[in-house]
Amino acid sequence: MRKTLYPLPLLAALLITTAAHADTGKLLLTGGVSTIEGAAGGGLTPWAVVGSNATADEIGGSAYITHAGTGDYGLNVYGAAVGIHDRYELSIAQQDFNTRGTGVALGLPGLHLKQTIVGAKVRVLGDAVLDSDTLMPQVAVGVQYKTLGSTGLDPTFNALGAKRHGVDVYVSATKLFLGQSLLLNGTLRATKANQNGLLGYGATLGGNEDKYTLQPEFSIAYLVSKNIAIGAEYRFMRNKLESAGRAAGLGNGLRSEDWKDIFIAWAPSKNFSLTLAYVDLGVIVPATTVGRKQTGYYVSAQVAF
């Protein structure tokens, strides 16, 4: 556990530095919440918004902790982001995926897959909130560098032709239809990640080409009141590991399916938000979970300034 904590001192330094500029002025909930990958957005998919409360000329920060539990797995995430001038966002996230029964079935009891994600995002045009007389969304491009820690599963990843690091590139367009109190986001991600990277990147066994695929992601949110939003997300998942698994004699045992959630986010103040969600992550290593859909809960707390 100690070894995976190395990003924290850097983060703490960034947050303390930025706390000096705490007089930030973005509107409530317009910085989004923190995704499981660290970037600001919904819960599962990044948006074009820049995290923290900082608007133009300001620097702000946010930190969060998230827990998700499904029938067969647990996921803990913590991370932070710095927003600079409402244009640049730097983020970091540490994911700890508890494989529970799957680890046992693989002869690796207590197996935790730990992924570190360092992200950068830049807003290229638009203002999702204030440009309410045009259809022009706020658009941002982002990059995420993902590293999966070394575990007893390394030989399996090698056999499947999956690497333990990868880079995702995405573009997001976010629009708040203020008059309708409705927010829409579309993200298109170029990725090689299997199950968001928790099962490596790429899978060449069985003749898969090691190429990027484009995965769309969608979010919709309705602002119920000034500090409560409800919504849903849909994230298409790359499913190249299934054919690699088939080549390894596992049938469809490594299949992945799209991720979805419905959420409610509550921001009692500008500095704190709480998000609750019901998630459906489809099947995750159905070989060891009798093909059960991984449904469950998601809870995330964020502080921001």
Binding site: K26, D131, D133, V139, V169, A173, Q180, S181, K226
Partner: protein, 154 residues
């Protein structure tokens, strides 16, 4: 990699164009929003409350203390009345020239929106109606916020 970026950008554009066309923000065709704000007496009472809060808030107070507050209130009433479909004509100065050289930052604009939300809450205006009005006011940020290149240098 370059092709990838181009196709990403194109696809995102298409996504939004499709989703957005049904939701264009246009000025109201009727006076339902004007009525929701209590017509002229409602707007006058809202702006009285708004000015008290603007002066009290440390973020916005300094911008409004030197102003002719009665005149600002009257002009705001006319402006919101006209925007919301009421029978008013805004005859004041245009937003750009009346805010030129005031060194107004985006955070100042956001602070003003927050104070207006407080006033609308205090007057019991439903959240959806508040957002309909804000959607009509928000685009004015382009004329009100001082562009960085012309902002006063220290």
């Amino acid at each position: 990699m370059k092709n990838l970026f181009v196709s990403l950008a194109l696809a995102a554009g298409l996504l939004m164009a499709g989703a957005g066309s049904a939701l264009a923000q246009t000025a109201p065709k009727d006076d339902q929003l004007y009525k929701a704000f209590g017509e002229k007496p409602g707007l006058v009472s809202l702006m009285d409350d708004f000015m008290v809060r603007l002066l009290a808030d440390p973020r916005t107070g300094p911008h409004f203390k030197p102003a002719n507050q009665q005149r600002v209130k009257e002009q705001l009433v006319d402006q919101l009345c006209a925007l919301s479909g009421g029978p008013c004509v805004y005859k004041g100065a245009d937003m750009k020239s009346s805010h030129a050289n005031l060194d107004i930052k985006k955070s100042d604009f956001h602070a003003l929106v927050e104070v207006l939300q407080q006033s609308m809450d205090a007057k019991g205006i439903p959240f959806r109606k508040q957002n309909e009005m804000l959607a009509l006011l928000a685009p004015m940020n382009r004329d009100i916020i001082t562009p960085p290149e012309t902002a006063a240098k220290p």
